[in-house]
C-alpha cells in the first residue's frame, strides 16, 4: 500500500523531468563541453580539449570591459529602479480608489507589450533627430544634438523602463502588508510625512525593495534585445557579445565559454544575494 503512494509523486513529475533532462540538462551539458574545445580560426574546425576559451574570456581586457560594462549597467539600472520604483509604489498605494487601480495598470501595462516595441520607441526618442533632441532644439535648451542612442546612458534608461514595473510590483506587495494604523499613530504623535516615510514605511518595504532588486538586476544583466538595439554594434554587453561569437565570427567554443561565465556569474550573484536577504530579513517574513 505504501509503495504506490511513495512512487506517485515521481510518476507525476516524470513527464516534466524527462522533458527537462532532454531540453535543459543535455543542452547545458553540451554547451559546457563545447566551451572546453579548441577552435581553429582559419579552418573553422573544432577539436581538442583546452582551457583557452576561458583564458581568453577571463584574461582578455576586451572581455573584461564587456563584463564590467554589463555589471555596471545592471547596477545602475537597479539603483535607478529603486530610486523611482519604490517612491512610485508608495505614492500609488496612497491614491484614492479609481486612480490607484488605473495608474497601477498604466505602470504594469508595458509588461504586456513586447520589449522590442518598447525599445524601438526609445530608439525613436533617442536618435540624433529623435523626438527628445528635436524638442530640446525647439526649446533652445541644447546647442547640438545630445547623443543618447549608442550610449550607456541610453541603454540604462531603456532598461529601467523595461525593469521598473517589477520593482513597483515587489514594493507594492510589501506595502500591502503595512498596517495603516501604525502610520496614523505616528501622524497623531506629530511625525511629518518625511519622518513617517523614513522611520515607518521604508524599514518595512526594504524586503520588497531587495527582492525587486534581484529581479531587476537579473533582467538588466542578461538583457539582449535592449542593448542590441540601443547600444548598437560598438557598445557590447555579455549577451550581445555571445550572440556575435555564435552568429558573427562563428567561434562557437568561445561563445560557449562566455555564455557559461555569464551563467555562473548570474547564478552566483542571485544565490548569494538571496541567501543574504533571507538571513537578514527572515524575521520580517513572519
Amino acid at each position: 500500500m505504501a509503495s504506490p503512494k511513495r512512487r506517485a509523486p515521481y510518476l507525476l513529475s516524470l513527464p516534466a523531468l524527462l522533458f527537462f533532462a532532454a531540453l535543459l540538462v543535455t543542452p547545458l551539458a553540451m554547451i559546457a563541453g563545447l566551451s572546453f574545445q579548441a577552435f581553429d580560426l582559419n579552418t573553422g574546425q573544432i577539436g581538442g580539449l583546452t582551457l583557452g576559451n576561458y583564458a581568453d574570456t577571463l584574461g582578455d581586457p576586451y572581455y573584461h570591459t564587456i563584463f564590467l560594462r554589463t555589471v555596471g549597467i545592471g547596477l545602475a539600472t537597479t539603483a535607478i529602479c529603486i530610486l523611482i520604483g519604490a517612491p512610485e509604489a508608495y505614492f500609488l498605494s496612497r491614491m484614492r480608489a479609481p486612480w490607484r487601480s488605473i495608474f497601477l495598470i498604466v505602470t504594469l501595462s508595458p509588461l504586456l507589450i513586447s520589449v522590442v516595441v518598447r525599445t524601438l520607441g526609445w530608439a525613436l526618442l533617442f536618435g540624433r533627430n529623435g523626438v527628445i533632441n528635436q524638442v530640446l532644439a525647439a526649446l533652445g535648451l541644447a546647442s547640438g544634438p545630445i547623443p543618447m542612442l549608442y550610449t550607456v546612458q541610453g541603454v540604462v534608461i531603456a532598461l529601467v523602463h523595461v525593469a521598473v514595473p517589477f520593482m513597483v510590483i515587489s514594493v507594492w506587495a510589501a506595502l500591502q502588508r503595512l498596517d495603516p494604523k501604525v502610520i496614523r499613530a505616528a501622524s497623531s504623535l506629530g511625525a511629518s510625512e518625511l519622518t513617517i516615510f523614513r522611520r515607518i514605511v521604508l524599514p518595512q518595504i526594504v524586503p520588497g525593495i531587495l527582492s525587486g532588486s534581484l529581479i531587476v538586476f537579473a533582467l538588466a544583466a542578461s538583457a539582449f534585445a535592449t542593448p542590441a538595439i540601443i547600444g548598437g554594434r560598438q557598445l557590447k554587453v555579455v549577451a550581445t557579445a555571445t550572440y556575435d561569437e555564435f552568429l558573427g565570427t562563428l567561434n562557437w567554443p568561445l561563445g560557449a565559454a562566455i555564455a557559461i561565465v555569464l551563467l555562473i556569474v548570474n547564478a552566483a550573484i542571485m544565490l548569494t544575494y538571496n541567501r543574504i536577504v533571507e538571513r537578514r530579513y527572515a524575521r520580517f517574513a513572519q
Binding site: 509523486p9 531540453l23 543542452p27 547545458l28 498604466v106 513586447s114 534585445a225 542590441a228 554594434r233
Partner: protein, 283 residues
C-alpha cells in the same frame, strides 16, 4: 489615509510620462503618413497599417506566433499540471531539487539558453525544425505555468480531497470532480501567462531561429516580438523595397544592428568564414 502632496503628484506625473513615452511614440509613428517621423505633424494616415496587410510575411509571422504560443502554452500546462500535483500534495526526497530544476529557466539568461539550444539542435540534427522551436518555448515558459498551478493548489484545502476519498471516491474521481475544478483558475491563468511569454520571447528565439532561416531557407516569421503591433511598421519601412529608408535623416532604425533576422543576414559577414549552414556540416 493621508493624501499625496504636490511633490508626490509631480513625481507620479513624470513617472507615468516616462512609462508611456516610448509606447506613444511608436503609436504616433505608425500613424504618420511620411517615411520620417516629423515634428510637428498635422496629418495622420493609416498607410502603414495597410502596408502590414499587403506584406504577407507580417501576417504569416503573426499567425505563426499565435500557433507557436497556443501549442507551447498547452504543452507546458500538460507537463506542469501533474508536476504541480506532485510538488503540492506530496513530501518526498528530492522535492526541493525538483522545484529548483523546474524553476531554473527563470534564472538562466535567455542568451545562454538560446546558445545551448542552438548547439543541441545542431548536434541532433533538428536544426530549424518546428518541433525544436516548440520544445525550446515550452521549456522557457514552463516555470510560469507551474507557479500559477502550484499557487492554486497550495491555497486549496487538502481536507476536501481527503473527504472525497473517505466517501469512497476513486483517485480519478477525486481528480476529476475535486482537484481539477480547484485548479482551473491556476491552469487558465498559467496558460495565459505562458502564451504571453511565448509570444514575447525574442532573445532565445533569435538563436534557434537564425539557423532555421539558413537551414531551411524558409522566409518565415521575422521579429516574432514585433510583428503583432503596428509599431513593427518602423521596421517595415526598412525592409520594404518600395519605400526608401532614410536612415540618415529619420529615426535611426537602419543602424540598429540586430533587431531581428534581417539585420543578421544583412550584416556583411567575413568573406572567408563559412555561413552557418556550411559551418554546421563541418562541426
Amino acid at each position: 489615509m493621508s493624501r499625496n502632496g504636490t511633490f508626490a503628484i509631480a513625481f507620479h506625473t513624470l513617472f507615468v510620462a516616462f512609462m508611456l513615452a516610448p509606447l506613444v511614440v511608436v503609436m504616433w509613428m505608425s500613424l504618420t503618413p511620411s517615411n520620417l517621423l516629423s515634428l510637428p505633424t498635422t496629418s495622420f494616415s493609416l498607410r502603414w497599417f495597410w502596408a502590414i496587410l499587403r506584406h504577407s510575411q507580417f501576417i504569416d509571422a503573426f499567425w505563426f506566433s499565435i500557433l507557436l504560443g497556443v501549442l507551447s502554452a498547452s504543452l507546458a500546462m500538460m507537463l506542469a499540471v501533474p508536476a504541480a500535483l506532485a510538488l503540492a500534495r506530496y513530501r518526498f526526497p528530492g522535492r526541493d531539487a525538483f522545484v529548483a530544476l523546474f524553476l531554473s529557466p527563470l534564472i538562466i539568461p535567455h542568451v545562454v539558453l538560446g546558445v545551448a539550444f542552438l548547439r543541441f539542435f545542431t548536434q541532433i540534427g533538428m536544426t530549424g525544425t518546428f518541433i525544436g522551436l516548440l520544445g525550446a518555448h515550452v521549456l522557457v515558459i514552463f516555470p510560469y505555468g507551474l507557479r500559477l498551478v502550484l499557487a492554486a493548489l497550495t491555497t486549496s484545502d487538502p481536507a476536501i480531497e481527503r473527504a472525497a476519498i473517505s466517501l469512497g471516491a476513486s483517485q480519478w474521481t477525486v481528480f476529476r470532480r475535486v482537484l481539477f475544478p480547484l485548479m482551473i483558475p491556476g491552469v487558465a491563468g498559467g496558460w495565459v501567462i505562458s502564451f504571453i511569454q511565448s509570444f514575447d520571447e525574442v532573445t532565445m528565439t533569435v538563436f534557434v531561429d537564425s539557423v532555421l532561416d539558413d537551414a531551411a531557407g524558409a522566409h518565415v516569421p521575422l521579429h516574432r516580438g514585433i510583428d503583432r503591433s503596428a509599431g513593427g511598421l518602423g521596421l517595415d519601412r526598412r525592409h520594404s523595397p518600395h519605400l526608401p529608408a532614410h536612415g540618415h535623416r529619420g529615426p535611426h532604425l537602419r543602424a540598429g544592428p540586430y533587431p531581428g533576422r534581417q539585420g543578421l543576414n544583412a550584416r556583411p559577414a567575413h568573406p572567408d568564414l563559412p555561413r552557418i549552414g556550411q559551418c554546421k556540416r563541418s562541426l
